[in-house]
Symmetry: D2
Amino acid sequence: VGDLPSSEPLYYSDYLQLDRLLASQRLASAAGGQPVHDEMLFIIVHQAYELWFKQILWELDEVARLLAPARVAETAMLRMVARLERITEIQKLLIEQISVLETMTPLDFLEFRNFLIPASGFQSVQFRLIENRLGVRPEDRLKLAGNPYTAALSEDDRRRVEESETETSIFQLVEAWLERTPFLDFGDFHFWDIYRGAVKQLLEHDQRVVATNPNLSEPERQSQLASFTQTFALYEAVLDETKHKALVAAGERRLSHRAFQAALFINLYRDEPALQEPFRLLTLLMDIEQGFTTWRYRHALMTQRMIGRRVGTGGSAGAAYLTRSADRSRVFMDLFQLSTFMIPRSLLPPLPIEVERTMRFRFEEL
Amino acid sequence: VGDLPSSEPLYYSDYLQLDRLLASQRLASAAGGQPVHDEMLFIIVHQAYELWFKQILWELDEVARLLAPARVAETAMLRMVARLERITEIQKLLIEQISVLETMTPLDFLEFRNFLIPASGFQSVQFRLIENRLGVRPEDRLKLAGNPYTAALSEDDRRRVEESETETSIFQLVEAWLERTPFLDFGDFHFWDIYRGAVKQLLEHDQRVVATNPNLSEPERQSQLASFTQTFALYEAVLDETKHKALVAAGERRLSHRAFQAALFINLYRDEPALQEPFRLLTLLMDIEQGFTTWRYRHALMTQRMIGRRVGTGGSAGAAYLTRSADRSRVFMDLFQLSTFMIPRSLLPPLPIEVERTMRFRFEEL
Amino acid sequence: VGDLPSSEPLYYSDYLQLDRLLASQRLASAAGGQPVHDEMLFIIVHQAYELWFKQILWELDEVARLLAPARVAETAMLRMVARLERITEIQKLLIEQISVLETMTPLDFLEFRNFLIPASGFQSVQFRLIENRLGVRPEDRLKLAGNPYTAALSEDDRRRVEESETETSIFQLVEAWLERTPFLDFGDFHFWDIYRGAVKQLLEHDQRVVATNPNLSEPERQSQLASFTQTFALYEAVLDETKHKALVAAGERRLSHRAFQAALFINLYRDEPALQEPFRLLTLLMDIEQGFTTWRYRHALMTQRMIGRRVGTGGSAGAAYLTRSADRSRVFMDLFQLSTFMIPRSLLPPLPIEVERTMRFRFEEL
Amino acid sequence: VGDLPSSEPLYYSDYLQLDRLLASQRLASAAGGQPVHDEMLFIIVHQAYELWFKQILWELDEVARLLAPARVAETAMLRMVARLERITEIQKLLIEQISVLETMTPLDFLEFRNFLIPASGFQSVQFRLIENRLGVRPEDRLKLAGNPYTAALSEDDRRRVEESETETSIFQLVEAWLERTPFLDFGDFHFWDIYRGAVKQLLEHDQRVVATNPNLSEPERQSQLASFTQTFALYEAVLDETKHKALVAAGERRLSHRAFQAALFINLYRDEPALQEPFRLLTLLMDIEQGFTTWRYRHALMTQRMIGRRVGTGGSAGAAYLTRSADRSRVFMDLFQLSTFMIPRSLLPPLPIEVERTMRFRFEEL
């Protein structure tokens, strides 16, 4: 809590180091003798981005710390979730900031753009650290004009980013945590058997309805029956561990089969007390991914508007690059794919009482 | 436009001075040996505020520069308006940032709050400069625990803020610009006479309807007729320059009578080409005032939630202070009051052709 | 899950009843022969409000249902919290909608305003139902020009609103739920004794520091010591049940003493698994209150801007009424006041192991 | 302005037709005997969308009316711009509403999804009308499972949408208005010659610098010189009317050469009084396009999250369809491409005084 205040007064401006902070805006255009008004906005927006990136890293680091133990403390769940929620709030700012930057017109940008070459937003070390911390894989990185994504960085920065590639990512920590979920196999209860049974029952019922529906014309019936084959294949790919592994090898899925099962389990039984916070955690990971995806997209639109088909100051292909990059930087795609494999709760058999009990609080039986 | 890039590569991180920027977060709680996680957020949020305050000052300074000449260039109108519009976009960020800060709970704040004493948000020099630049008057400032609003600042900062009180404010520049509006009296045309006539006609018509409406009961009629007296008095206070001056002296109005007339004229005839941008300028001044008012209010709610009835770290009365302060810091209240005095356009006689012509473009008669 | 689709195609427009929905905008100004363009916006904004109010009531009703049992199901917590979270998302829309309405200028409003008299936004039945559902008390309602707040409603609507005053409010349900919190007294553990002890220790320590701090001047010391008296009184009022009841009687506090204790307990020990969702529930109640407060405030600002000091179409005192009303409509003020009484976690003795255990999951001891 | 109120009181709920509005939510899942809580949200969100679509059409219709005359009134510019600005504010709501819908989880959606088949969001007639009103061309429409985009509509609705394809679009009106810009050729002044000259000078200067820069290595020099060829070709395609027409024929550009010139002129000389509002109009058209593009993108992300790889209720390919559709629905792409062809203002020769004068106000020479 800290002691009572010392007699040395702490000034707001000293505490925030405002003398340095507010002296860190040097207009490149001023060097040419003609400072361009809008360059200040360009600098401030990017500096604000970097402040928020620092905060996001700060939060992700703590989440990683809390997720690291072989047994994640249940008392840490709320805190982890709160950290992730904070990141989603910050992301709203990041997106809003684009609207502020868009108050600069292309013609205004043109007045100082040449002074910036070859600096470019692609050189944000912190953003790369965030991506690596979350779990973007080096092999999923787009080349930047034939060079690795770190090429435009200074020596020191490159090293820092490359090191971060080797650290355990949030993705890996979450995957391991999911794999340890204790309820998937519990005594005689095996979630995967239950799930497989429910899927089978659902598809057979649907098929029967189509086969016998007197209101369908014959071509309609055939077409609908044909589409079941596709649906079966979709479920097969998730039910069968070998097929799942093949998808992972092909880069279409990333979570291990066990982790995927656990994520599905948590979604289907999220109302159980022990799964409420885990469910929120998974949801927030998707929210964060969606936040960055949206930000990248809005950023690409803005760049396109600002420089059209010109080449980006970093030598990139500009807007087109950004759009492609957005797709390659997704980490938790599997969580988004879960919805494909959900089945209505009413089709799931109730959990055995002893499984249910273990996910409840002790006090509930007082 | 700048020359082609020099051969020295300009790094993004150097350009933005990130080494300084990202090394300027020193947790006061770390001094006690136990850094508190959420203090980082507290620092980053306030630093981001300061960056944006710098940008707002940068924009206000240019607006002041463009408004300063005895004859404001018509070619400068779009730029001025764009600067003000940018400020309103930044204000949305300021307000959003409160939602980010609110992800810190009161209990988290309590962990490092004592380390900050007596620093406090009331010490933001830049925010005081913004207020003074806009036109908050020293005499409208609330005392802070009996002391002037600058008391908590360091020697240097106090001087800077006090100097800014003596500079010409945006309010004063706008008032002078309004007073110079050339169309209020133009040949035989006198806007104020036209307006007075229309008001008279409007009120007499309404009175007649009430007096003769067979559907009204006698008490209703009397009550409605009585309310006209109040309405008359309201209009009298604006029509009569002497009464207007009395209101100014009493602090209830701030714009000069002439400027008030011009603002009303611009609102009523805003579709005339020469008034389109002036109308937007007046609207944006209101938007900016509303933005700060809303921000102060949200800030007060947040403070109340964070510290309850505790005393603010700056020794202020906390939340209550903030609420009162919000009301005292309004500069363009007169513009908000204009709506009281508007009359439907259909009741206004058309402008004389020669007045209208002068507000049009030359090319329109090609 | 529903059967497979019937052969009757369900059209989007039929499902949404768009023929009725989109035929429900009748411009009052059209009756006068001259439809005013902006009246459409006025209607659409208010209709959108009413749609969202319906949704909010729908969510509140379910929350009330889930909170009603003598023992609230732990499996219902996530759902309740999700309902409340949804309301906060809707509130953001409500606030954003004001920005849309503000694209109408006062002069535009003036063109059709008279057609609306005496209809007014104060007549939204659904908003009154929301307030009553949450727990605004009839005795806290402001009179509207001397009349009860329901005066402007039609016969039927008035009856509906008055009935809602007698239903059990969310406030009452939450209070009862808090009072039943099983951990406040558990064997030898009595939270209130622990809390009282920690408060005493905290204040004595602070007092000692001030009394002996050699850096303080004598007047400073006296002033700071005097302020402790005030702090003591503040804590006394919460520690002593009789004083608390007096505050309730005086209308300064609303929650029962027991419920207040529980709310404090939940905040201080929120990391315990059994308190994580309860903590979120309390937080969301504050968020919702803050959402409505902010909305009312923004609405008041907008009204002031739109009609100035004119009288509202409903005959109210317009903007001033709205501001005052905002303060009177707060239901969960006590939750905001909790922060006044929080003490740093480091000062709290750890919970006895048997209390802690009961708030954990069964599986944790596997 | 309307007469004084009649003696018949106008109730808020009658004015807004709330009895119909609030009785238009019929849960399809209720038919199955088990109403699903979240279906209400689904209905309300879509109904709110439709209300706002109606408002957007209302605004677009007025813009079209004001743009229709052979000589657009200069006094109509502010109003047009205000209408477009209002649309951008509404679009923010549309995007926010996605966040509200996302409070529904995939599992919740699954509970009532089958009841909706085959209704689908693709059947919003009003959204199709908006697109056609703006100027999406029938030939740019994606097929929906091999069928025209109107296939899923009812007979009446299809006719309405198809008729709207034949009406003059905002795109066509804007193009014609741009083509009539009177300043492009004015006496001896020919904007296109000036522009061509400035481009030539710019490129030659840049080329010279590269050719003689001693800091460049020979390969760098060759690479940079080679990139000029590409740049030349880019400018050629816009400078040469024949090449421009070829691009139009190829579907890569849409505005006529003359209109493209005018749009560029307005951007470069936007500070001239007569161009200030035209500049804002062009900017707002881009804002609106960007608003819909962003909305479509967020909508696609949400769909992906909600249904994964399942097939959309309308039988579409779901999320993938939405993404592709977003690109095909752009109308004002040419305006976004303008930035490619801007040159710094400092390189433009000043306008001849007689051209400048004609774009100023009459009163400026008083």
